[in-house]
């Protein structure tokens, strides 16, 4: 089946991102296709490459980047939510006059239409949040 995943919370504060990651990994292991992982609300904070979590704990951002690379996942961060929370790629930095970017590998910033499209195209949409 084609699955769409929505992640509404950021790394570490809520378990949502962890649960979404484990679910996505399990779905891929079962041979399902992940149409898209969409990050909304504080979920966009899963896409900053500036975290330095303790060495003896999971690195949530890197783990998503690695999974995306291994399985060619489409991981989309909502542009409006990203702007509110300071997740920035080159395009956004130029457009909004920011002096830095912080988007982690494997993520791309795009509009909410990508979430609706995922809901339309996928067979199932699963939401992880608070």
């Amino acid at each position: 089946m084609k699955l769409a995943i929505l992640v509404n919370e950021g790394p570490y504060t809520h378990q949502a991102s962890d649960s979404a990651y484990q679910f996505t990994k399990a779905a891929l292991a079962k041979g399902h296709e992940i149409f898209r992982v969409f990050f909304y609300h504080d979920g966009v904070n899963n896409a900053t490459r500036l975290t330095t979590p303790p060495q003896d704990d999971r690195n949530i951002i890197n783990r998503w980047s690695k999974l995306a690379e291994e399985h060619k996942l489409d991981m989309v961060v909502c542009v409006a939510a990203a702007q509110r929370r300071g997740i920035v790629d080159e395009g956004e930095a130029k457009r909004n006059g920011k002096d830095a970017t912080n988007l982690a590998p494997g993520f791309r910033i795009s509009g909410l239409g990508q979430l609706i499209e995922a809901g339309i195209q996928a067979d199932r949409t699963v939401v992880f949040g608070d």
């Binding site: 089946m1 649960s19 990994k25 399990a26 079962k30 399902h32 199932r124 939401v127």
Partner: protein, 98 residues
């Protein structure tokens, strides 16, 4: 429908609202929601009563993380993440009661 609950019923009313909506299908408890599936809690009777309407499932890794592996109530099937995926594909839709 697959109903996903991720908060303890003594903390939030998501599970209660889900039970009241009485959609039938299944309830899957994940994250802090797994506390609802533990023996001896004040919510146990309500969850038992819901067994008539819903098949009950709880995510094993979340139960174990919280130290309740030996106290899951009868009537709740423990699943792993692969089982979670199966529940999603087996039901036409899923509602996460956030």
């Amino acid at each position: 429908m697959l109903n996903i609950i991720n908060k303890s019923p003594l903390d939030r009313n998501a599970l209660q609202s889900c039970i009241d909506a009485a959609t039938g299908g299944a309830i899957l408890l994940i994250e802090d929601g797994v506390y609802a599936a533990t023996r001896g809690s004040a919510f146990e009777a309500k969850l038992k009563a819901a067994q008539g309407t819903y098949k009950l499932f709880a995510l094993g890794p979340d139960i174990d993380a919280r130290g309740f592996g030996d106290r899951v109530m009868d009537g709740v099937t423990v699943v792993d993440y692969a089982g979670f995926v199966d529940l999603v594909t087996e039901h036409k839709t899923c509602q996460s009661w956030l």
